[in-house]
């Protein structure tokens, strides 16, 4: 597979002229982004020692008065929201903007309406969907346009669906109209929508499986939400059908794809039935979260793979590693074999973490493996090679694979596609925030 440069694709497909810096790896992007936003976002995944070094560096850092006031959105937009509800985030930004400029910005309520957050103003940020979180981050930055000296955004092509690109361009234009610099940080190939196609003759074979969702009610909040009488449940329409792996769960930002996946994997509590019958029968569902860095819980390779399971995991890890390397030269450092990597003290890169977590999950041959936004934090070529490698390895073990993405270009790798759509609930369904519908054919697909 030939390497493409992000710059070639940027102008064709996302149609923008915003200055963009491209990086080969997530680690390089995050390092540059942290330097740009005055080091405010510490690394989390690199281990406890580096965490503390970062923490001390940021905490001890004096803030010069002349420093440019930086507006920014992080590569995971939730990381740049500092208060508990959308109203508080916007009110905080409004107060900061008003302090710095004589011309008061629009009030928070008005900005919330403009970004489609009017109904979610007093909802806990934890219970916002991905799409609402993205819109909130953009609304906050919109308010800060009045006073910011620069806007820097990390990986917008990853967290923003192409359908919403117009909103983002409007935001960037607002800054440019004030004479403020705007710059994007992106991974190579992140801004392409060209279909992902497997090489001739090496595409994954189809593998059938069945899934069933019945009377499913998802619990989105914490115990405290229940205590303070906040509605924190969502309902999912019934499904009982056969699918073919690799299957794509597709839909716009924040339509409930990840929620359903977490329910299937038992990661969130729910009422009702959510089960998958794979070739080996009804077994557990394993899930790789979008934010795999949080999923590691700062554990080292040795802690993620206990010694009794190391040999089995090593076989799958090395198979995935070789498969990725056959398809593409991985960006950044070379991928070391499992045995060498286990002895190596250097922290795992994002691609290595994803390979390791997939390997751990494939060892047990469960009902299905779900990859939530597998391209998050990877260059386009690495992402395609990684997903293809995981599907091959999983099918070889009789494990079907579900890929979750808001990017329609994954459809060309999938043998079945299910479209997710969030709908408002009727007044009789008090206590439910919304209802998730899952349909066979993508409606209005991009």
């Amino acid at each position: 597979m030939a390497m493409r440069t992000g710059e070639d694709n940027a102008m064709q497909e996302w149609q923008h002229d915003i200055p963009t810096r491209y990086f080969t790896t997530y680690e390089a992007l995050e390092e540059a982004f942290r330097r740009r936003v005055a080091g405010l976002v510490p690394r989390y995944h690199a281990g406890i020692r580096i965490f503390w070094d970062d923490f001390q560096r940021i905490y001890d850092r004096p803030t010069p008065a002349s420093e440019v006031y930086e507006a920014y959105i992080t590569s995971n937009p939730r990381d740049c929201l500092a208060f508990g509800t959308p109203f508080q985030v916007l009110q905080g930004a409004w107060l900061s903007a008003r302090r710095r400029t004589a011309d008061p910005p629009d009030p928070p309520d008005k900005v919330a309406e403009r970004f489609g957050l009017g109904a979610h103003l007093h909802q806990s940020i934890r219970s916002l969907s991905g799409g609402e979180t993205v819109r909130l981050a953009m609304a906050k930055v919109h308010l800060l346009a009045a006073c910011a000296g620069r806007l820097t955004v990390a990986s917008p092509f990853s967290w923003l669906a192409l359908d919403h690109w117009g909103d983002f361009r409007q935001l960037a234009n607002r800054y440019r109209a004030c004479g403020t610099d705007v710059e994007l940080f992106a991974l190579e190939g992140e801004d392409t929508v060209a279909p992902a196609v497997a090489e001739e003759g090496t595409g994954p074979a189809a593998l059938p499986f069945a899934w069933r969702l019945k009377s499913l009610h998802l619990d989105l909040g914490s115990l405290l939400d229940h205590l303070h009488d906040r509605p924190v449940c969502a309902e999912v329409a019934n499904v009982d059908e056969s699918l073919t792996s690799p299957c794509l769960f597709w839909g716009d930002n924040g339509q409930g794809k990840s929620l359903v996946a977490k329910a299937l994997a038992g990661a969130i509590s729910f009422k009702g039935e959510a089960a998958v019958r794979g070739p080996e029968g009804v077994r557990r569902v394993r899930l790789l979260f979008q934010d795999v860095l949080n999923q590691t819980l700062m554990r080292s390779m040795g802690q993620l793979v206990p010694r009794p399971r190391a040999d089995e995991t090593a076989v799958v890890y090395d198979e995935l590693r070789e498969s990725v390397q056959r398809r593409v030269v991985p960006s950044g450092r070379p991928l070391l074999p499992f045995a060498e990597k286990r002895k190596n003290a250097a922290p795992l890169g994002l691609l290595e973490i994803k390979i390791l977590l997939a390997a751990v999950r494939l060892v047990d041959r469960q009902s299905v493996l779900i990859l939530d936004e597998p391209d998050w934090g990877l260059s386009r070529d690495d992402a395609v090679a990684y997903v293809t490698a995981v599907v091959h390895a999983a099918h070889g073990r009789g494990v079907p694979v579900i890929v979750i993405s808001h990017k329609p270009w994954w459809q060309h790798l999938a043998r079945s596609v299910r479209c997710f759509r969030k709908e408002p609930t009727s007044p009789q369904d008090a206590g439910h925030l919304f209802r998730i519908r899952i349909t066979r054919l993508p409606e209005g697909a991009s």
């Binding site: 405010l40 923490f55 508990g84 107060l95 990661a267 899930l287 979260f289 009794p308």
Partner: protein, 238 residues
């Protein structure tokens, strides 16, 4: 039930145990040195928390209580008993010397810890944060400290703990730790399971502390950036 009623109910329940008031000092003993009413009070507190805050919160508060209580009580009682026996007292007499103290301590912890957790959980911190930010006149220095405290509390309760729980559930971490380690038997197997459980819990503890602290510099900067209230201005609602 609104927050004020819930907090009032919990505060009434908490008066005896938090103030140390002996409401029924002369009641009949259930065990030597432990009154029936001590059991009754602990039971009443748990029933009260269940009624005021719900069974789910009670179950979680009890789980936390037992995690704290078990090593403190068993460890403390064992060490005291051993020291007394080593001092020349017979094992039966040594048990009788400290038994009542540890039973009372257990009952005390069964009341204090769930009550403290329920009280903290019942405070509407989000509304407090909202109230502090609903201003056009700026925010006082003390309010900024309070905002910072609320932010860390919120992040821990709504992000850190749920994220860790999601990962643990997906991996069924505790079940894996308790899996039978091969063909080992007896004490050796127990040691391996214990080591795995301890290592897992320590790792989760470290991860949760780091996750809770992770964004403090970012929040500190954003909160510090809010306009400071000038003395002549009064708070008003937007």
């Amino acid at each position: 039930m609104n927050s004020v009623m819930r907090l009032t109910g919990l505060a009434i329940l908490a008066v005896p145990v938090f103030t140390g008031l002996a409401l029924f000092p002369e009641s009949r003993p259930a065990l030597p040195g432990v009154a029936w009413l001590s059991f009754g009070y602990a039971f009443l507190v748990l029933i009260g928390i269940g009624a005021l805050c719900g069974r789910a919160l009670l179950a979680n508060a009890l789980a936390v209580t037992v995690l704290i209580l078990a090593p403190v009580i068993y460890g403390g009682a064992t060490v005291s008993w051993l020291l007394t026996v080593l001092g020349g007292t017979s094992p039966e007499a040594a048990g009788a010397m400290h038994g009542a103290h540890y039973v009372r301590l257990t009952l005390n912890m069964l009341s204090v810890i769930p009550l403290a957790l329920a009280l903290v959980a019942s405070i509407p911190f989000d509304r407090l944060e909202l109230r502090l930010l609903r201003t056009e006149r700026g925010i006082a220095s003390g309010e900024k400290y309070l905002l910072m405290f609320i932010r860390v509390f919120h992040h821990t309760v709504y992000f850190v703990i749920p994220n860790i729980l999601e990962v643990m559930r997906e991996e069924t971490l505790l079940r894996m730790a308790a899996e039978k380690p091969g063909h080992r038997s007896g004490l050796h197997r127990f040691q391996i399971v214990g080591r795995r459980l301890t290592a897992g819990l320590v790792q989760i503890g470290i991860s949760s502390i780091c996750a809770a602290l992770r964004f403090i510099p970012l929040w500190a900067r954003e909160i510090d950036d809010l306009p400071r209230r000038t003395p002549q201005h009064h708070r008003s609602q937007t």
